[in-house]
Symmetry: D2
Subunit: 339 residues, 4 copies
């Protein structure tokens, strides 16, 4: 960490800052350069309160230099590979993983049909929501544990792994019993109690980006999972909130190359929630593949208008076929295989 | 709810939409006007999926007309009054309520001094964080239940009511035993499981605005609390996330008059987290009073640099005195009393 | 336009609104439906002040229904085709047009080399900035008319059309003499005096999106050009300003399918300004092709560090080759030809 | 300027960076500290391309340290005072200046009545738009030079100074002849050609903040005016564009204390455009005074519904009286006089 003072050789201020760093954060510091304007801080600088330093009179700037998420940081390893099966590895630079399934698990029949749709196109991971985070309390809240069991059954029938969203720590045993991967939604990205609980699971976790989360905050949320012992973490970009209202959220595809330099974690794109309209999902999915994402998570349904939620953005069989054809074509053009 | 079609008298589309509304959402609908382009939907339209309708070919627009948060809506009552004590009522148009205290409860001594600072200036509600939501896992996470008990003790000693942030449902009994009011933080505004749990408490709840929450989403989160039976809900504006980086968050003071027309719930301003710098807090606090907020929640500390978190924005005794003098002057100018 | 009143059959309000619509905006209106709550407004509703209506007591909502940009609207035609040459048509669903060249025209030698780089990869349109909009007054402001003449010379030498940014109306004759296409920058998207001047030119215009412009505001700016008589307008998405700071701007690729339904104008993506880093440009360019854009505008330079501006995002020969290979591969996968 | 390298004592990189700084930007640089990881750059660092440096492999961070707007920076002087008259000085810490008048100058009669409304409440500066920047080309575009002459006449009749928005450089002579102060609108904040032209005028200039402008970009735009020789520049916060849609724009009142530390220029608040509704303007105006702004610019009209634009946000006589009473009360509470 580097601290730049406004004036040269302000001995009183230097003493004050060094004392603060030592007594409050336990960090040694030493003056750099002839002008005596720069302090280098060493030790565990992750505990230093940068805002406090910045607020002091006489301090020009503070630069942390080191990333505050050591485990998620690219420095520690190149790429996390999550082995779903012999042929399906998330994070492999030569693969694009597709996860698909209904938004919510409404009935066994519809789920089965959706699973068949996914399987037919070569999908290895079945998604489906049993516990649903809804903006308003009067909306359908999901089928809960029954839904999870239906998802498990469909996964077994079609030979697919399963993923579903967990909303509270107490539900973890139910998820441990039934699904293969856990999802943490955008609204819970900074629900630290949930992150701590899920960090104790051995199952891979897909962590969606919060609507207003910076890339650093997102990686710090992932760090909660990694620090707790769960190393199989995937990041999922699902659109951020901006002034633009024509699309449901602003899918920030530029975050893919930026994240790639910051972290070794796989990056998944959710085109369904970002776009919010069935007929726009394919374009966003192809965009996600083209910017280099490791995978996609897509909502599909045999008859979208029968769905209890997010009907407007679900892919029906025709759009789904068209979308997967496009995904395969673009993946192939980039030398990648869809798994 | 109103649905406008693109063409006049498209009989096939009209039949399709009416069938969908009836079979999927149980809502009757009837055609309005000679042109047969407008459908009025009645019944419980809160269940209708507007996005689905908007995504249909041939539909021009959909207008919900009715607010989806009936309990929080201004229509139902004019103002919620939360009786803290005989002289301190939150939501009274003639009062400005100030809550103050340290960011986190680090030690009994510091908390006691902060409480004395608050009491001396006539504050009736003591704030203090025991469970701290921290962006990174390596930051100080709070003193937990011990902290709550210290807060209770300080509140009793100085005759103040207390408020503290709850982060998970299981902690509710500990809060019920110790504090007078509950706070739900910005990161948990859409943690619906927490909202449902807290809705069962009889204690007043201060619900902070999420960093990317629209006013409607915020009121829908409040609706979760109201629907569960907790009618003493306060809204707390603490700044939203925008492109502006010089201030920590963009305090949206314009939301105060807008909310006033939408809801009967009291509106509190948090100038400390929004501004992020001690020397800017007073200006924002006075701005909050001037736009008509019902109260303020302010972080103070006898020696800010000793605080385990948010040291940069805490008011020391000198800034605190100056801030309260300003708050009293502006409140008086508006015919209001600081309580 | 539809106006919905709060109450049924409020005769006084109905009379007041109808009178206002007639006397102030010259629009007839009639009541729709039995409940007498809805007013349909006809005539030239583009002049009606929706905000005024919305602010009236007793009015629930106002829905314009009709787009306020009749000429830019998709309704009027399906696709605008801009014929650059026999083989290069902008807006053709089977083509991806690439424009490339240096950020600024610094010297004849560098420009010539950049043009050769572009030509070698099959590019038909050479870009280059002569008048540069710079955030600060002390930055390099461009080579002006001399630069335009160098651009013309390079275009002629290599058989490419040229495009350059115009910043003020008085410079139009200089552009008319030298370049083939005009560019209006993001900062000038709502410089209406410049739009009016450029609308009188016969040359195609590339209109960049303002940093905070909604899609509707962008199309309204295009409407200024179309209304003035210039029908060859291209829209260029170059990233919007959001809270995200790791990437220079947030490239809103989701706007491509949304715009496609709103307008017939071609859509170009600028990955260079959005990403701000050489090594991220390719990913964003490929994303742009994959979401269905009609073309790309990319900054290249034989030796980026010699450039007088935007050096950090320029593609050197190696990155440029890699980028074009990717663009061709993805375009081919989508059944499109790079022209 | 400080440049931090990733590794210690990377001699090759150090040589490369120093060479680049010297040959490309003419800046000397020297290594600071034992670790040989930090380069201090001196000379005119305002020309150095920070993005280029940041994009280089091996560079950890670049910190400019010095502000790129030397003339606008607080360092150079404490406060700019703009002497409007003997009793009205903009920028005086003991004054709140109110500018008021109609949005657009539609007719001599209405303008005269609005001027009388303003004068009656002690206003010294009359605002009125003659050239109107309109989002769509079909909206009323203003009365032009005739409007300016009416404004001049009203100003003379009531003994008030006048201010009006200029949209293109060629109109400057017309403004020089008629008005006392110039306004540059939010959409033109980065219209550098206009800034350069207006910088040559001797009249005070009110520079509105662009919808997506950071405080630094805003001050850099002001720097264009100062560098050209016009030292009487005021900044006007009028709301930024965010995801929040209930209010027209998000008035960023927190920018006032932040700007106060960055610059010596006076800060004016425009509550009318930010709020967009007559009945919310007063609250925002009072908020502006309370956060410490130097003045307000408010739209008023004898009969708002007769106005050709922005009718929804104009203050009628009753709201205007109420608003000014509040402004005087809050100003007095802060020890300030309304002038």
């Amino acid at each position: 960490m580097l601290i730049v003072l406004k004036e040269k050789n302000n001995q009183e201020l230097i003493a004050q800052v060094q004392d603060l760093l030592h007594s409050k954060f336990g960090c040694p510091s030493h003056i750099i350069g002839e002008n005596r304007r720069i302090l280098a801080v060493t030790g565990d600088t992750s505990v230093v309160d940068v805002d406090l330093l910045k607020s002091m009179e006489g301090i020009k700037s503070v630069d942390r230099v080191d990333r505050p998420y050591p485990l998620a940081s690219r420095g520690t390893k190149n790429r996390t590979l999550i082995h779903v099966s012999d042929t399906c590895v998330i994070g492999d630079p030569k693969s694009v993983v597709v996860m698909a399934g209904p938004c919510s698990i409404d009935s066994e029949g519809d789920l089965d049909e959706a699973a068949a749709m996914a399987k037919e196109k070569g999908v290895n991971i079945l998604r489906g929501g049993a516990y649903k985070p809804r903006t308003g309390p009067y909306s359908f809240q999901g089928t809960g544990y029954e839904g999870l069991k239906l998802l498990q059954k469909a996964g077994e029938k079609y030979g697919m792994k399963t993923i579903s969203e967990i909303m509270k720590a107490e539900d973890l045993p139910k998820f441990e019993d039934t699904v293969d991967m856990l999802q943490i939604g955008a609204r819970n990205m900074q629900n630290y109690e949930l992150l701590k609980a899920v960090s104790k699971s051995k199952k891979p976790v897909l962590l969606k980006r919060g609507l207003a989360a910076t890339l650093e905050e997102w990686l710090l949320a992932a760090e909660y999972l990694l620090k707790g012992g769960n190393l199989n973490v995937m990041l999922c970009e699902r659109g951020i909130r901006t002034f633009e209202q024509e699309v449901r959220f602003t899918l920030c595809l530029g975050s893919v190359p930026a994240l790639r330099e910051m972290t070794h974690l796989p990056i998944i794109i959710d085109p369904s929630h970002a776009m919010g309209k069935t007929r726009w999902v394919k374009d966003a999915a192809l965009g996600g593949v083209a910017v280099g994402a490791d995978g996609l998570i897509i909502e599909i349904h045999p008859r979208p208008k029968d769905s209890a939620c997010d009907a407007a953005q679900l892919l029906d069989p025709e759009h789904w076929t068209d979308c997967m054809d496009g995904i395969r074509a673009v993946s192939k053009a980039l030398g990648k295989t869809v798994v």
